[in-house]
Structures are given as structure tokens and as C-alpha cells.
């Protein structure tokens, strides 16, 4: 006879002290605009507050508004650039005296654009850019490690583009988008369970080379030579990870059956985005631009991960649609230098009580600047800088479960990000 009450109740008792462990979640990612959107699609436009849907400046238009490519004067122009994202999160909880700083590595979103004028009314282009992604790392086994310890999320968009002038004042453009995505995510299974050696039970899921399709459409209207209006719509793209690798870590030998390694399936939506914008060429030197972005984040209701060992993790996200208000200006100082500046207000799609620590971001104020230095008739260097300021916010994520009840994780978060960028433009 063994310990009486434990006897015929393996499932019951096991359940009780391991329920915490069987609730899983995969999350996506922090970013430098709301959610895991990374609005860094070109040095020139970023420097102008990431406006651009109505700015006829460069091949960056392939992203901002494909319709505009046909209005570019150069027969061929291309821009290649990269940003260094230094993002920081600090977290504290006054009730328990917790203080944690993220240790996120520098991430390097990039983009490459090219536009070729076929004739007076049609241009083709190619765009490669990384509008979604995240790279967040917290100290191992930090207080929120049952929600996230590390995430690296990347999505590269490849977009062949066609732009056609309907009239001298009106053009349309668009392109199909091929996405190549990858995810690598690690967290602990619950807040406390360790193996006999004292190592926390955890899980890593990863998959790369996930493909998905979407499209990008634009319309541009130039009522006068100085005044431009634009509208752009980039479709929603659902990235489905299928048969990705799921690696359960530090699992005691007696629990191997329950937490066996295998594969996972999950879907992550990259939301659709609709942008309206206008620009006004005040004079030879000054250009003003304004954009309003609407991102349809409400597609991101829940992140559900299914494991091949039968475990399922449901993680409510309940994002809401969000809007960004962007302002930019450009000053052409001389033939060598063009200076740019901008500001945008970025609304967070995350609702109160859904502040998971992979994106503990509230609304932000964003300040941008930059310049172009023309090396020659053909070559130019584009530099940009973005500083993102967040006020501190007291928030929580209330939908993690242990023993069948919601366990809130929260405190005060403060974020910031410094993002220098550098690019090269070549034109004929």
C-alpha cells in the first residue's frame, strides 16, 4: 500500500499540480510601432515621420504607395537601407519589489527598393522590406518568464510592383506580396515548476521559411503639381506555422509522455493597413506631408498554439484597431543636402488587461529626423533617426491561467527605442 489518497488518482492529482504547466502560449512580438508592426520602411520617409503615401520622393514608394512609382522622374532608381533598433523595456512591480530590464539584442530591419520606368505611363518595381517583426529578450527566468523569456519574429516581404498612370493626375499601382516568416519563441511552462535539478520547465517553438501571400494596392492623385493625395491598402496576411519544431525543456523523466517534443501549429496575423495621406510642395525647398494610418489589428483575437503531443495553448490577445497620425517635412538645403524631420503619434492596439510583456507598449510619441547627402549625380546616402518615447504605464496581462484560474501579471512598464538608420540611393 502506498500513500493512500494519492493512489487511484494519478490524473487528478497530476492535473492539480501541473495544470499551470499545460497552459501554453506563444506570443508575438514587440515592435516599434503598435503591436509587432515595425514602421521603418525607408530612410527618407522614416525621417519624415514615416509619411509617404503621397510623397513622390524615391523608390520607397513601392512600399508606401505603389501608384506613385510612375510619377518618379528617374528612369531607374533604387534605395537600400538598414536600421539598427535599440529598444529597451523596463518593468517593475511595487507590490513584490520586482525590477527587470529587457536584454533585447539589436535588431536590424532592412529594405531594398527599385523602380524602373518602362515608359511615360508605366513603371515596374521591386520591394523587399520587413514591416513586421520583433526581437525581445528578458533575463532568464525573470518574473514574467511564464509568458515570455525570448522572442524573435521576422517577416520578409517580397513585392514585385506595377504602377500605371491613368491620367496625368491619377495613377494606380499594386503588387503581390510573398512573405517569408520565421518565429523563435521561448518561455517557461509556469511560474514555479522545476525539475529535480532546479531547472525551470520550459518550451521553445521555432520555425523558419514560413510562406504566405498578400498584396499591396495604391492610388495617387495630383490635383496640382504641388499637391498630392494618396491612399494605400496593404492586405492582411495570415502566417501559418505548420509542423514547426516544439522543444520542451527540463521535463522530468516521469512527465516526458505528457510534454513530449514534437511539432506545433499556430497562426499569426499580419494585419491589413489602410493609409490616407497628402503632401504639399510649398516651394522649391520645402515639402510638407501628412499621413493617417489605420491598422486593422482586431484580426488578432487570440494566439492558439497546438502541439503534436496534444497540448493546446489559448492566449487571448483581443487587439483593437489602431491609428497613427504622421507629419513630416523636407527641406532641400542645396544640391548636396536635403534635411528631413517629422513626428508621429502611434496608438497602441493593446487593450487594458492584455498587456503581455512581449509588447507591453502604450501609445507613443515618435520623433524623426534625417538627411540625404548627394555624393554624385547617381549616388546618395540617406540617414535617419527615430526616437520613440513612451510614458510609463501601469498595466497587466490577466489571461494566463494556473489551476484553472486567471493569474494576472503586471506592473509598471516603460519602453523606449533609438533607431538610427542608413541607406544608399542609386539613380540613373
Amino acid at each position: 500500500m502506498t500513500f493512500g489518497h494519492l493512489k487511484n488518482s494519478k490524473s487528478k492529482s497530476m492535473k492539480k499540480f501541473l495544470t499551470g504547466a499545460v497552459i501554453f502560449l506563444l506570443m508575438s512580438a514587440a515592435a516599434y510601432a503598435g503591436g509587432y508592426r515595425i514602421a521603418l520602411q525607408g530612410q527618407k520617409q522614416l525621417a519624415m515621420g514615416h509619411t509617404g503615401v503621397a510623397v513622390i520622393n524615391s523608390s520607397e514608394l513601392a512600399f508606401f504607395n505603389p501608384a506613385g512609382l510612375t510619377f518618379l522622374e528617374d528612369s531607374f532608381t533604387s534605395s537600400v537601407g538598414m536600421n539598427l533598433v535599440y529598444s529597451n523595456i523596463v518593468f517593475q512591480n511595487e507590490r513584490y519589489g520586482w525590477y527587470t530590464e529587457s536584454e533585447s539584442p539589436v535588431s536590424t530591419p532592412f529594405n531594398a527598393y527599385a523602380s524602373f520606368k518602362i515608359n511615360e505611363w508605366a513603371s515596374v518595381g521591386m520591394a523587399v522590406y520587413t514591416p513586421y517583426g520583433s526581437s525581445v529578450e528578458y533575463p532568464t527566468n525573470w518574473e514574467g518568464s511564464h509568458l515570455i523569456n525570448e522572442i524573435s519574429l521576422a517577416a520578409i516581404f517580397f513585392q514585385p510592383t506595377l504602377s500605371v498612370k491613368l491620367t496625368d493626375k491619377l495613377s494606380i499601382g499594386g503588387g503581390a506580396i510573398l512573405v517569408s516568416g520565421s518565429v523563435d519563441f521561448t518561455r517557461n511552462l509556469d511560474r514555479s515548476t522545476t525539475n529535480v535539478e532546479g531547472e525551470r520547465l520550459g518550451v521553445n517553438i521555432n520555425q523558419s521559411g514560413i510562406t504566405a501571400w498578400g498584396y499591396n494596392l495604391g492610388l495617387m492623385f495630383r490635383p496640382t503639381t504641388a499637391f498630392t493625395l494618396g491612399v494605400n491598402y496593404r492586405s492582411e496576411i495570415i502566417v501559418d506555422a505548420e509542423e514547426g519544431e516544439a522543444d520542451f525543456r527540463n521535463i522530468p523523466s516521469n512527465l516526458q509522455g505528457q510534454f513530449s517534443d514534437g511539432t506545433f501549429n499556430a497562426s499569426l496575423p499580419l494585419p491589413a493597413e489602410l493609409t490616407f495621406g497628402a503632401s504639399y510642395q510649398v516651394n522649391e525647398k520645402w515639402l510638407l506631408a501628412v499621413d493617417i494610418n489605420r491598422v486593422f489589428w482586431d484580426v488578432y483575437q487570440s494566439l492558439d498554439v497546438e502541439f503534436s503531443n496534444g497540448l493546446v495553448s489559448e492566449n487571448p490577445r483581443n487587439y483593437k484597431n489602431s491609428t497613427s497620425y504622421r507629419f513630416g517635412m523636407q527641406y532641400k538645403a542645396n544640391e548636396r543636402f536635403t534635411l528631413r524631420g517629422g513626428y508621429y503619434f502611434d496608438e497602441s492596439p493593446i487593450q487594458s488587461r492584455y498587456f503581455a510583456p512581449e509588447t507591453p507598449r502604450n501609445d507613443s510619441n515618435n520623433f524623426t529626423g534625417g538627411l540625404t547627402f548627394n555624393l554624385s549625380e547617381h549616388f546618395a546616402i540617406d540617414a535617419s533617426f527615430l526616437y520613440i518615447h513612451f510614458d510609463e504605464v501601469n498595466e497587466s496581462y490577466d489571461f494566463y491561467q494556473e489551476n484553472g484560474q486567471n493569474v494576472s501579471f503586471g506592473g509598471t512598464y516603460k519602453n523606449n527605442a533609438f533607431i538610427p538608420g542608413l541607406g544608399v540611393t542609386y539613380r540613373l
Binding site: 493512500g4 494519492l6 516521469n254 494556473e402 523606449n416
Partner: protein, 492 residues
């Protein structure tokens, strides 16, 4: 070349730009120790203070001992460093000159039926007590220590082992002849905690009351390890400890003692653990008929009261049946008839220690199917803590707790009422943000697999009680910990 310098420079610049909170918790002054001076905190006590769990002292449980938990929280309010005599590993167990003297920790395994069973971890201890650590240690909790051991010189002397020395103190004593109290006072503590006295009754309890209640005997030299310490002696010792600790003006906190009857060690094996069908019950009743007849005869002869005779009648029926036990407090009738031993069936007030579960229902003689332990073969004195013995322990514990309360008042120290806390734990459980911590063995979360000592989560609950009382008494604002972050039981 110069340009290549800019990139790391830039990186360093931005990486250093962590956002700053308006009111950071890690900045001095956010939390306050109030009137308490937490510069040097020393914890005194027994296994509960050392962080003992799952039948052993092992590293992770030491790290989450309640003194270390509160010391970490103290450090947010000006508290100083806190050192512990950490063992080598998470295996637990001790060696003396290479010989194993205590086993590794218990972990949960699964038997062939898939049921969880606590088993001793299959590993070799590596912590040898002859390897004496360099102190001093802020955590002076010594597993196995009774109240008077804190004053005993030579308690850490290997030469006195095992009779008059403690293996855990041997490896941490500043010198072979130092006492625990001397080593504590030598650290000149500004703050102390004292949770001592549980072992003064626990050994008696877990041995099934085989020891001696030494009430009336004030000489601890004559005590056995399973004896109950005289309450007057306890009071004298407790006062000396507090005098020693407060001699330099230190502040502190004391903890009283919970009832042993509510711990899983005594509540897990039910008194009526024997399931029988009607046929077997009838057969057993037949076997006890002669015994029962003898009891009734002596009752009729006036040798024992009707009440005692009733309690000694053995009777089984279909369903769950109380186990048969030997109770030394019954009238000895063997002079009249050697067959009339001190048998009776257990009641709900009798407590069966956890290890009994391993033998209960098995055959005392494998070749004799009728030698079922607990039915045909009674549980012996060591295998049951009778209601009389429970009452004895409770009376002494009440005396200890009265002493602790009175001395706390005398020395102007706050008192953590662990007694009431355990009552709550046992009756309804203690809620935390991830559920409720209860005293249920294995799954309750409060008690480790030895059924006596707390889990790390249980120790966190104690730590919070201490923090609360310190905050209250000393006007401090030390933050609590979240019990949900501390593990409970461990699966192998």
C-alpha cells in the same frame, strides 16, 4: 579607421539609454524598514528555518528558506547581505567521512500503476559534514535542533557525533565548542528571527509517542531524542536565547508553534484504512470472539470499566474498518490472561504516521494470509499516536506558546502566530493568486513529501506572515513575495 569606432560607440550610447521610472522600486527610499534596523539579520531555528524539505536539506530549498526569502525582501529596504550554509547539491543528504548518514531528498515517482509515490532520490549525497564551512552564517537554522540545543556547547563538535552533536551544526559551527546562540550573537545582529521549539514535541509525535514526556525533569542531559521537553526548561531556555540576542539592543521577531496533529504526516493515513467485505469481516470477528469474550468477562468482574471494555472490543463489518492498535494507556490485563493484550480499534482521534502507509494492509508473515498488519496484527506503539498522546503534546505545546507570547511581550518583540496560520491552512487553506495552498499531502502545496516540512511555497507563506508583522510593528513597508513563484513538489 576612425569611422569604424562610431558604430560600437553608438551601440554603447543607445544601450545605456534604459528608460527610467518616475519612482523606481530599486532606488533607495522606495521601501522603508521603518524603525527596524535590518543591517545584519540573523535567523535562529531548526529545520524549518534552515529550509529543510522533502526529508532533506538541499540547495534550492535552502535558497528559498523563509529567512533567505525575507532577507531578499529586506535588501529592498536597506537590509544587508545574508549568507547561508548551503549544501553542495540538489540531491540532499549528508556524508560523514564518506559514509552516508542521511538520505537524499524525496521526489515524486510513479509506480507500475502510474500512481505518484514519494521515493528517495536515487543519487549519492556529496555534502560531507567534515568539510566545515567558513562562516559566519546569517541563517543559523539547524535541522533537528531543540530549544535547549541552541545553548549547547559542543553541539557542533564532530567528536560528540552522533550522540551529542548535530551533523548540520558540525559543518557550520565557528569552532567545535561554540553554541548556536554564541555563533549568532557573535555576528552582532541588528535584527533576528527565532522559531524554535517544534522539535521539543515533534520527535515524540513522529515516533508515535515512544519517547518520554519529561515534564518535571529539568535536566536535558538525560533526555532522549524522542522525549518531550519540560515546559519550564523550555521557558528558561527561550528567555536565555532572547536575552543573548537582545543583549546588544537587537530588534527581532519570534514565531510560535503550530499543532502537530494537522500536518500531513499524521492526517494522510486514515484511522479506518481497512476495507473489508462481509465475509472477511465475519471471519475476523470469529477470530476475535475469544478475545472479546475475555474482555467482557473482566468487565463483569469489575476489573475494567464498561467504557474501557467497549473501547477494547474488536469488531469488523463490511466497508471501511478502523485499524487494530496496541494502546499502552489501557489497563494491563495480561496478568489475568496473556491473550488479553492492550488492543483496541483506532478512532478518528488517533493519528497514524505517514510511514505506516507502507506496512498497513501488508502481511506480517508472508506465508500467513491472516497476518494482515492493522487487522490481525495490531499496529504497535510506534505506529500510532494515540489520542492520549496527542492530548499530552497539545498541553505541552500550549504551555510553550504561552511562554513564547509572554516573552515576546516582555522583550517587546512582534509575534508571528504560526499556530493560527496553520489552523487556517488546515481548515480552509490559504489563498494565493494561483489557487489555494492547503495541507493536503502531495497536492496541497504547503507540505513537502516528508509530510512534516513545508514546501518552498509553504515557506514563502511563512515569509509573508513575518514581513506583515514586521511592517506592522516597526512601521516598515517591506514588500511581500508572491507564493505562486515558489515550487511545491518535485517530480523525478
Amino acid at each position: 579607421m576612425r569611422r569604424s569606432l562610431y558604430i560600437p560607440l553608438l551601440a554603447g550610447l543607445f544601450a545605456a539609454c534604459q528608460p527610467e521610472f518616475n519612482d523606481p522600486v530599486n532606488e533607495e527610499g522606495f521601501y522603508s524598514s521603518g524603525e527596524a534596523d535590518l543591517t545584519t539579520y540573523v535567523a535562529l531555528g531548526n529545520s524549518l528555518t534552515a529550509g529543510f524539505a522533502d526529508g532533506a536539506l538541499y540547495r534550492d530549498a535552502q535558497i528559498n528558506s523563509y529567512p533567505n526569502i525575507i532577507a531578499q525582501q529586506f535588501s529592498l529596504a536597506g537590509g544587508g547581505a545574508f549568507t547561508q550554509p548551503l549544501v553542495n547539491d540538489n540531491t540532499g543528504g549528508l556524508l560523514a567521512n564518506g559514509q552516508t548518514i542521511s538520505s537524499p531528498r524525496l521526489v515524486l515517482n510513479f509506480n507500475e500503476n502510474g500512481s505518484p509515490v514519494p521515493v528517495t532520490l536515487d543519487a549519492e549525497p556529496t555534502t560531507d559534514i567534515t568539510n566545515v564551512l567558513e562562516g559566519p552564517f546569517n541563517n543559523m537554522g539547524v535541522p533537528g535542533a531543540k530549544s535547549y540545543h541552541l545553548l549547547a556547547n559542543g553541539y557542533g563538535n564532530l567528536g560528540n557525533f552522533p550522540t551529542a552533536a548535530n551533523p548540520y551544526f558540525i559543518r557550520m559551527a565557528s569552532s567545535p565548542d561554540a553554541s548556536i546562540l554564541e555563533d549568532a550573537v557573535a555576528q552582532d545582529p541588528s535584527f533576528f528571527s527565532l522559531w524554535i521549539g517544534a522539535n521539543d514535541i515533534l520527535g515524540y509525535a513522529t515516533s508515535g509517542g515512544t519517547g518520554v514526556n519529561q515534564t518535571g525533569n529539568l535536566n536535558p542531559q538525560t533526555y532522549g531524542s524522542n522525549d518531550i521537553t519540560d515546559p519550564t526548561l523550555f521557558g528558561g531556555v527561550y528567555q536565555q536565547i532572547l536575552q543573548g540576542l537582545t543583549s546588544n539592543g537587537a530588534q527581532g521577531i519570534v514565531l510560535n508553534l503550530p499543532a502537530v496533529s494537522g500536518i500531513p504526516f499524521f492526517t494522510t493515513v486514515p484511522y479506518n484504512a481497512i476495507p473489508l467485505d462481509a465475509g472477511t469481516a465475519a471471519l475476523l470477528n470469529e477470530n476475535y470472539a475469544a478475545y472479546n469474550g475475555g474482555i467482557r468477562q473482566l468487565q463483569a468482574g469489575g476489573v475494567i470499566s464498561a467504557e474501557e471494555a467497549d473501547s477494547r472490543i474488536i469488531s469488523f463489518q463490511a466497508g471501511q474498518n478502523p485499524v487494530v492498535i496496541l494502546d499502552e494507556s489501557l489497563t494491563d490485563l495480561t496478568g489475568f490472561n496473556p491473550a488479553l493484550v492492550n488492543l483496541r480499534q483506532a478512532t478518528a482521534e488517533d493519528l497514524l504516521p505517514l510511514p505506516v502507509s507502507r506496512v498497513l494492509g501488508t502481511l506480517a508473515d508472508p506465508s500467513n494470509p491472516l497476518s494482515v498488519i492493522g487487522v490481525a496484527v495490531p499496529l504497535n506503539d510506534a505506529q500510532v499516536l494515540t489520542m492520549t498522546e496527542v492530548a499530552e503534546i497539545e498541553a505541552v505545546r500550549a504551555a510553550y506558546n504561552n511562554t513564547i507570547a509572554a516573552l515576546a511581550q516582555q522583550f517587546d518583540l512582534p509575534l508571528v502566530d504560526v499556530d493560527s496560520l496553520f489552523d487556517q491552512l488546515i481548515s480552509q487553506g490559504i489563498p494565493y493568486d494561483g489557487g489555494t495552498i492547503t495541507a493536503t499531502f502531495g497536492t496541497g502545496g504547503a507540505f513537502s513529501l516528508d509530510g512534516v516540512h513545508l514546501t518552498q511555497r509553504g515557506y514563502a507563506v511563512i515569509a509573508n506572515e513575518i514581513i506583515d508583522q514586521i511592517n506592522l510593528r516597526y512601521n516598515a513597508s517591506i514588500p511581500e513575495v508572491n507564493a505562486g513563484y515558489y515550487p511545491a513538489v518535485f517530480v523525478e
